[in-house]
Symmetry: C2
Subunit: 216 residues, 2 copies
């Protein structure tokens, strides 16, 4: 990560955009709705994908690409839900990029899928800059991270299409004011948001319904 | 961030190491114990520094450098504790580096300090690679992030000198097994660790005592 080994003048972002557009074309040709799910470590991205996959079972063919610095614990969790999963270990990279997705797609049969979730590396900074070519991007935050996440990391929320505020059952215990998070979303990055407690299945149906609606 | 604009062959890490050594020299000359506090977003780094600063008030002269992508909310929180604080906004960078610290030190009178805390950017990936020149590095994790943080991000724990497992009051409610976190620490990155609930002042005294001990 951060180690530089490219010709002077090469723009990493430009290169990434080019591959992202190619990924987007592949998704479109296969008729797959692809969703890049970003969010900090521990915000609950994996559990959310598990809950969504369970709900879509039987009506939509779901696939998942899981990004993690190391290990395959999330991959193994999602595999339990009987959906095709590809694990990407970035080694030391702090975000997924379009090129990593391009390679992961070689291990997935896109034509046999309707919806593809990409779980990005847990990090509210770096993934913001690297489009993957997905149809939409969501950010998951947990109330346990405090109530100033949107203020502190405006960019990732601004580049997203939807926001999930998760673990709302813990807000009171944490002394976190969900209303102030919502106020920040409306001021800094106004867009569709969902309040969820994925562990207790709160708010997940609304999110799924919205994702499917956009999928039609 | 990640945008490349350097001569071919320049090694960012080597350059960083050089400046880190210069920072370390400045700390040593001024007799300041410096602590780089890393950890994910929302793990409780700021509150921990606030609690420690309060405890050291009157016996040790504390200064703080606060790193954040944007905004000054942490800076303002710490300033309330009547200690000198410098705010670093990295813009889009996902970690502090030695050069940013070098600049921040120009705004601090090191000779009037005994202990300097550096609050790194909330991120369990990138800061691991960038030494700042501090005497020691700690990682703060919160049980609300789940129990697999150490497994998923071994490097940052391995490069640290101590680990703080925070928000332990929430472990039961979250269904997180603190013992399994400890087992991971002992297996993957065996070193001094502290169990804290900074909000309710649990475990903070032990951490302060240890930091002071090492300071003697």
């Amino acid at each position: 990560m951060h180690k530089v080994d490219v010709a002077v003048g090469t723009d990493l972002f430009e290169e990434n955009e080019k591959i992202a557009r190619a990924n987007a074309d592949r998704f479109e040709r296969a008729g797959v709705t692809s969703i890049d799910l970003m969010g900090a470590i521990g915000s609950g991205k994996t559990l959310l994908i598990e809950k969504i996959a369970d709900r879509l079972l039987g009506t939509q063919r779901v696939g998942v690409i899981v990004g993690d610095v190391t290990g395959d614990s999330d991959y193994r969790r999602i595999r339990e839900h009987h959906v095709p999963v590809v694990n990407i270990n970035t080694g030391k990279e702090c975000h997924l990029d379009a090129h990593l997705i391009e390679h992961a797609l070689d291990d997935l049969d896109l034509d046999s899928l309707d919806v593809l979730f990409v779980e990005n590396i847990g990090n509210l900074v770096c993934p913001a800059d690297f489009m993957l070519g997905c149809d939409r991007r969501g950010v998951v935050i947990s109330v346990t991270e405090g109530d100033d996440m949107v203020k502190k990391h405006p960019l990732i929320f601004q580049t997203a299409d939807f926001i999930v505020v998760n673990k709302i059952d813990l807000a009171e215990h944490m002394g976190v004011d969900v209303d102030s998070i919502i106020a920040d979303i409306e001021e800094i990055a106004p867009k569709k948001y969902f309040l969820t407690d994925a562990r207790h299945d709160e708010g997940v149906d609304e999110l799924v319904q919205w994702l499917l609606q956009k999928n039609e």
